[in-house]
């Protein structure tokens, strides 16, 4: 039986194998042996080569067959996860300039309002409360120096 491998899994396998090849290529420029023992490049080269082989082998030999019980997870549309990932990345990008509180607040608000379409008032309240609790616990109690925004928190 010929398996049809989903495009996404092909990309994932390529990421694994590509990382392996890249590692092997960089490691090839490092010293391999020093005196009695392997030097700094030996194991990275080995790992890289192994990963390149295993990445390809796992993709083609072991791709989960279509139509089994876990179908739901594999066939789920990619739009929403990508949107969530985007919101997360935007929030992280904002931490240094807008401060932890504001960046996380806006990021959560976006997820509640735009992605999940939840009521406005509750969304604002839950986002603000969550960001506040995290700021108090990590920054005030545990002394973690979260970046502050131009308004000082």
């Amino acid at each position: 039986m010929r398996l049809k491998i989903p495009a996404g899994e092909l990309v994932l396998g390529a990421v694994f194998a590509g990382t392996g090849l890249f590692w092997a290529a960089v490691a090839a420029g490092l010293p391999m042996w020093d005196g009695f023992a392997p030097a700094t490049g030996f194991l990275p080269l080995t790992y890289g080569a192994l990963l390149a082989i295993l990445g390809i082998a796992a993709t083609f030999a072991d791709a989960a067959p279509a139509g089994d019980a876990t179908d739901e997870r594999r066939e789920a549309p990619m739009g929403r996860p990508l949107l969530i990932l985007l919101a997360l990345a935007a929030g992280v990008a904002g931490i240094e300039s807008a401060g932890f509180f504001a960046a996380m607040f806006l990021s959560m608000l976006f997820l509640f309002r735009v992605v999940e379409r939840l009521p406005l008032v509750s969304s604002v309240a839950v986002s603000a409360a969550s960001a506040l609790v995290l700021t108090v616990v990590f920054r005030t109690w545990l002394g973690v120096p979260f970046p502050a925004g131009p308004w000082g928190f």
Binding site: P6, G8, E9, V11, L12, V15, F16, T19, G20, W23, A27, L30, F36, A37, P38, T40, L43, P44, Y47, G48, L50, L51, L54, A57, A58, D62, A63, A64, E72, R73, R74, A76, P77, M78, G79, R80, P81, I84, L85, L88, A89, G91, V92, I95, M104, S107, M108, L111, F112, E116, L118, V126, S130, A131, L134, F138, L142, G143, V144, F146
Partner: protein, 493 residues
């Protein structure tokens, strides 16, 4: 018997109101920092250390020890409820504990974790009390070749954690590869850092585990067409049958955790991996693992707690650190004018026995605190997931940032979170990748150290008895399934 007498004086010291309060404060603080990803017991102890200067050293060490083992209870909470490992040692709990939570058994998972941790904590404290000197000698017998062989045994688990063998191996090798980023311990020179200062220390366990479990789970679950149903919380405490299932895993986990914890270069994280693999290999139906097997919670959770007590063995019996956290406790002892050394047990008997006694008390506190909390926190899962996941992401960001106060770590969280989501989607197991990252540096360093010692000969791994036994175990672990299959196939003919 003098142990009884010593323990009695210890108990008398530990049961004073002030020391009881310190013990309670310690386990409570430990529980809190354990539940928060990123911030761990080491950070909490270091934060509290200046406050205790000038205080009674015994009370301070009771407090610090409480934070240490309390954190092992706390780490379970976020792992089970939201699949965000609070500590690296609760990564394995995220696998089956979270599945149990999805099936409405969060209370059971947290309950069995608390009971298992209590039993493991108590048993290993007994072990610490009775066996510390011989165990400490065993720890000293572990040189580079022994660690190498132990890690080889651990690596045989790569393929066994997940479903597909090839995918498990690929993920494991990816983890090993990630462990090579940063400053090479043997030369002091960086590799794969691409002239980025923030890569000099490599990828943190917490960054990778929060990304692959926490963020990936959010992306995966929130993205599903059908929203996750609101789970009904069936029962809060383990049933008789569940207890029966967990009994042996708890005992085995305690033993594994204690022994692995005693070894200075390995700790609670590796102990929890070994316990999980052991349970999976021993199970009649290993396919239940990863789908909410209670043994997959009971084993690792007992094991990481036992490891915390195990790490106290080299500290108290030899005056050498048994883990990162005990290294800080040792530093604290020096600040109090106590020189940790092989004579700590004799010279500071009162302190040592009071701390040991306080560990029994602290474990009782933790059990009493956690059983009602298990039910309470399980209610969290009644909240619809769309309300839950944005704050979970914010918690992941806060936790990862707090670990090294580094924004680059948070970017790695986003990147590996995306990778983890793709892996989850196509069923590439994430746990081997973390196992590879955890074991990678010990594997490489012990191999290079051993070969330097042996002047390049590989014989050192088989001529030293402990190393040879461990390698034999690894060989059995690899061959046993194949032999079993062959045997079964023959029987069918």
């Amino acid at each position: 018997m003098s142990v009884i007498q010593e323990l009695a004086t210890g108990l008398a010291g530990a049961l004073t109101p002030w020391n009881m309060l310190m013990c309670l404060a310690g386990v409570f603080a430990g529980q809190l920092v354990g539940a928060l990803p990123g911030i761990g017991p080491s950070a909490a102890i270091a934060l509290l250390l200046p406050l205790t200067f000038g205080a009674d050293p015994t009370s301070a060490i009771i407090l610090f020890a409480g934070i240490y083992y309390g954190a092992q209870y706390g780490g379970t909470l976020t792992s089970v409820l939201i699949s965000v490992p609070g500590e690296p040692s609760s990564v394995m709990t995220s696998i089956d504990g979270y599945q149990m939570a999805l099936q409405g058994k969060a209370g059971v998972a947290l309950g069995i974790a608390a009971i298992g941790s209590f039993i493991a904590g108590t048993l290993s404290t007994i072990g610490l009390m009775l066996l510390a000197p011989p165990l400490a000698r065993m720890a000293l017998a572990f040189g580079p070749p022994e660690y190498f062989s132990l890690v080889v045994l651990g690596l045989t688990a790569l393929a066994a954690v997940g479903g597909s063998v090839l995918k498990g191996l690929a993920a494991g090798v990816f983890g090993l590869l990630l462990s090579t980023i940063g400053i090479d311990q043997q030369t002091g020179v960086a590799r794969f850092a691409f002239d980025r200062v923030w890569l000099l220390d490599g990828v943190g366990f917490i960054v990778l585990s929060v990304a692959l479990f926490g963020v990936a789970e959010v992306l995966s679950s929130a993205g599903m067409a059908t929203q996750r149903p609101i789970t009904k919380i069936a029962n809060l405490l383990p049933s008789r049958a569940e207890w029966k299932q967990s009994r042996m895993p708890i005992l085995r986990g305690s033993l594994i955790g204690f022994v692995v914890g005693v070894l200075p270069a390995t700790g609670a994280t590796i102990a929890s991996f070994v316990a999980y693999i052991t349970e999976k290999k021993l199970a009649k139906d290993p396919s239940r693992f990863g789908k909410g097997a209670i043994e997959g919670v009971a084993g690792p959770e007992s094991s990481n707690n036992a490891a915390a007590a195990g790490a106290m063995v080299p500290m108290l019996a030899l005056g050498v650190p048994g883990s990162g956290t005990t290294a800080i406790i040792l530093g604290a002892l020096i600040m109090f004018g106590i020189r940790p050394g092989p004579e700590l047990f004799d010279k500071n008997a009162q302190l040592v026995w009071t701390v040991i006694a306080s560990m029994y008390i602290g474990n009782v506190f933790l059990l009493v605190m956690n059983l009602p909390l298990a039910g309470l926190f399980a209610q969290l899962l009644r909240v619809p997931y769309s309300w839950l996941y944005p704050p979970i992401l914010a918690l992941c960001v806060a936790g990862v940032y707090s670990q090294a106060n580094s924004i680059e770590d948070v970017w790695m969280l986003v990147g590996f979170g995306a990778l983890g989501w793709a892996m989850m989607r196509y069923e590439w197991p994430a746990a081997p990748m973390i196992l590879g990252l955890v074991l990678g540096s010990i594997f490489e360093n012990s191999m290079r150290q051993s070969m330097t010692l042996s002047h390049g000969s590989l014989g050192i791994f088989v001529t030293r008895p402990i190393s040879a036994v461990l390698l034999a175990c690894a060989l059995i672990a690899v061959l046993a399934p194949a032999v079993a299959r062959w045997w079964r196939a023959r029987a069918h003919i």
